[in-house]
Symmetry: C2
Subunit: 422 residues, 2 copies
């Protein structure tokens, strides 16, 4: 498909947050041109009048458990351990791989409504997660969730090799669930894999105070220090949450180039705490933003996460000037793409993959146009997403999905699955 967006405002995220006017051309799955309006005689499959709206790179949701849509609003307003043991685990045990495909599609639909063009997904069955994304045309980086109960080292290696050559929309990163669920033997084995493939490793890290304290009791080191001592981060990687971090933890993140992937919606809802985002940014630690899963957030909305990222930092530091809008926008786009290894999806530039969004500025929350990047972070909302394109295909436009399945069918299946496993 050849698609031309004209009469648009353009935020490339490669040009110091500058917004220009012009046009963007898509050929196949790539961005073919970004710049001033051209009046060529080329033939296009679609020419879209952007009406002065904003075209920019899609948001990257750098930590998800998509299929947990089935638990949305099932287990809220309860302490973390009750939530996990009484609500999450017993129901998860009843899921089939096919359920996970359907439930992931429901999450993908929500990502699209929020301008999210790729997710970094940790869940049980990579085959049906990949199936959901490929069917919908969505981009997913799957990461391992290995622990003592599910997923083995052998599977990790097999999946790493398979899903990095499976489909252009799918890739795979080594990963494990968390220090507190994974034996040292497994972790050492994963470190060997990381060395063998010179690959980064990702995991939940220092989400709760209890987790950090228990790791200190077991290993006399924090999770970051312990995992680093095993050689897991010798080729980089990152941590989800990173709420309770020591100075030494942050130095390791900096030294190894580890991504701190913040999940503020989940962290407030589960009362986990507020991470030191200002300090991380000041130190030059690379950062990204994730929604976490719909069981703990419950919304898969990058606008809410962006506001929370800056708002919570301001509260933590008691300073309204910290972690400004542009820093947050960078984390939600460029930072996310790079954290996930999607080096061709980070900015809106010629030659990059066409993962982009059109943001409706003709809405009261985007007016007046004093500063568009601040509008996005401080007053932006899902209703501003006019169009979401992944890999050159429009998957969402004006409230309608083009994902190979009817929306109502996805809702129906999700409700059937919930009814079955209750």
């Amino acid at each position: 498909m050849k698609i031309r967006f004209y009469n648009v405002r353009i935020l490339t995220m490669a040009d110091d947050f500058r917004v220009t006017r012009g046009e963007v051309q898509i050929k196949g799955n790539r961005i073919a041109y970004v710049g001033e309006e051209k009046h060529t005689r080329e033939e296009w499959d679609r020419e879209i009048d952007g009406d002065g709206n904003l075209i920019m790179p899609g948001f990257k949701d750098a930590h998800t458990h998509s299929a947990m849509t089935f638990l949305r609003s099932y287990a809220d307003d309860m302490p973390l351990l009750d939530w996990l043991n009484k609500q999450v685990f017993p129901r998860e045990a009843k899921l089939t791989p096919e359920d996970i495909c359907h439930l992931s599609k429901l999450a993908i639909m929500e990502y699209l409504t929020s301008g999210i063009t790729a997710n970094f997904d940790m869940y049980l069955t990579p085959d049906t997660i990949a199936e959901a994304s490929v069917t919908c045309g969505f981009r997913t980086v799957i990461t391992g969730g290995m622990n003592d109960f599910t997923q083995s080292l052998e599977e990790m290696e097999e999946w790493y090799c398979e899903y990095n050559h499976y489909h252009p929309l799918i890739s795979f990163q080594l990963g494990f669930h968390a220090e507190y669920t994974t034996s040292e033997k497994l972790l050492a084995g994963l470190a060997e894999l990381a060395h063998k493939y010179k690959a980064p490793v990702y995991t939940h890290n220092s989400e709760s105070l209890t987790e950090v304290q228990q790791c200190l009791d077991r290993n006399h080191m924090t999770p970051t220090q312990y995992l680093d001592s095993l050689g897991l981060f010798d080729y980089g990687g990152g941590g989800y949450h990173c709420v309770h971090m020591t100075e030494e933890d942050l130095r390791i993140f900096k030294k190894r180039g580890l991504y701190a992937i913040t999940n503020p919606g989940s962290n407030v809802k589960l009362a986990s705490g507020i991470p030191p985002v200002k300090k991380m940014l000041d130190m030059g630690i690379p950062m990204a933003i994730g929604t976490d899963g719909p069981a703990s957030n419950n919304c898969l909305d990058m606008f809410r996460e962006m506001f929370l990222t800056t708002g919570l930092a301001k509260i933590r530091e008691r300073d309204a000037s910290v972690v400004d809008a542009n820093q947050v926008l960078y984390m939600a786009t460029v930072g996310g793409a790079r954290a996930m290894g999607l080096l061709e999806c980070d900015t809106l530039e010629e030659g990059k993959l066409a993962d982009l969004i059109l943001v409706d500025l003709h809405q009261p929350n985007m007016q007046p146009l004093n500063c568009i990047t601040k509008n996005l972070v401080y007053s932006g909302s899902k209703q501003n997403i006019k169009l979401t394109m992944v890999n050159g295909r429009i998957l969402y436009e004006d409230g309608c999905f083009t994902i190979g399945t009817e929306a109502e069918e996805v809702y129906k299946k999700a409700n059937e699955i919930v009814a079955r496993i209750q």
Copy 2:
């Protein structure tokens, strides 16, 4: 107009958060029937197939400065005092009453997109605030913002008498800006007015630590204790923000039946702090939620405020089980209406005023339908608002406004005003 909504789910907010199926009839500006579907031969101006979506009372935005839309994204990421003195005050001084009318309309449009059917507005010119609301068909309770620099006692009394008999959509409550901007003489005068009219009084209260400390230095009492000692709250009223409250302050709120109106978006963005919402609710202090103005928030979105209200409480108390979704939903609807004196707009019941919304459940963030009230608070978003009705008139439906002015005209005027006063 006679309008019938059928095939709807109904949340009356008068029935212990129960959601039922049925129909709702509107005749003129009142709710004429709520219950099971009827098959009468009555003639209707419109019969709306709700498609299983949710009809419920509109949200009440219990603290706003609507016309400050002109400052959206002008003055973010800076300390509070710089923000006020360098950005807000110099620009406010250049506003005309007509500007305030236009800028208020922009805010009203955003309220409508978020399912807000009434606001509690403190700003400079009640005449053009009322004009904006009446023109749009929106419901506004204006409150005084009296202080040493603007608005006098005489105006307070005049406005109290005038705007409570001006138009069915408009009412007025006594109020002043804050303890730190208002002399004791003026406050004593306002207390006299409150006694004369047996009227409640509203003000900004204990928003920042500095404010509380300075009041202690001046008066040897906290703002709540000081203002109560002057007799201002003898007929009730409320406080906006209420972030830094002592035990004694809370006892006064409880004793006087004062509404604590929380503004979490503004409180995080300006780094003011997190209020003790759990404690207030436990004590039975009546509560409501407001967005504050678009200069400090910057979004006028009750969904974001609802999530923040519960999320920040959970973080403050380090307990994921506190301030549950239903408590928050109550604050955002019934609590707000009662805080503002809108006793006929609180619930969806026969005889009440027809201020209501239709929430789109056919969206991925509202599925599966495990628990609709939790979905609203934890994953709801502006894009779920299908229709907003105020006083029996549909002002917003499927993204379109019916407010007597073209949306583009409102945006254009707002940008012109900004350009002029820059």
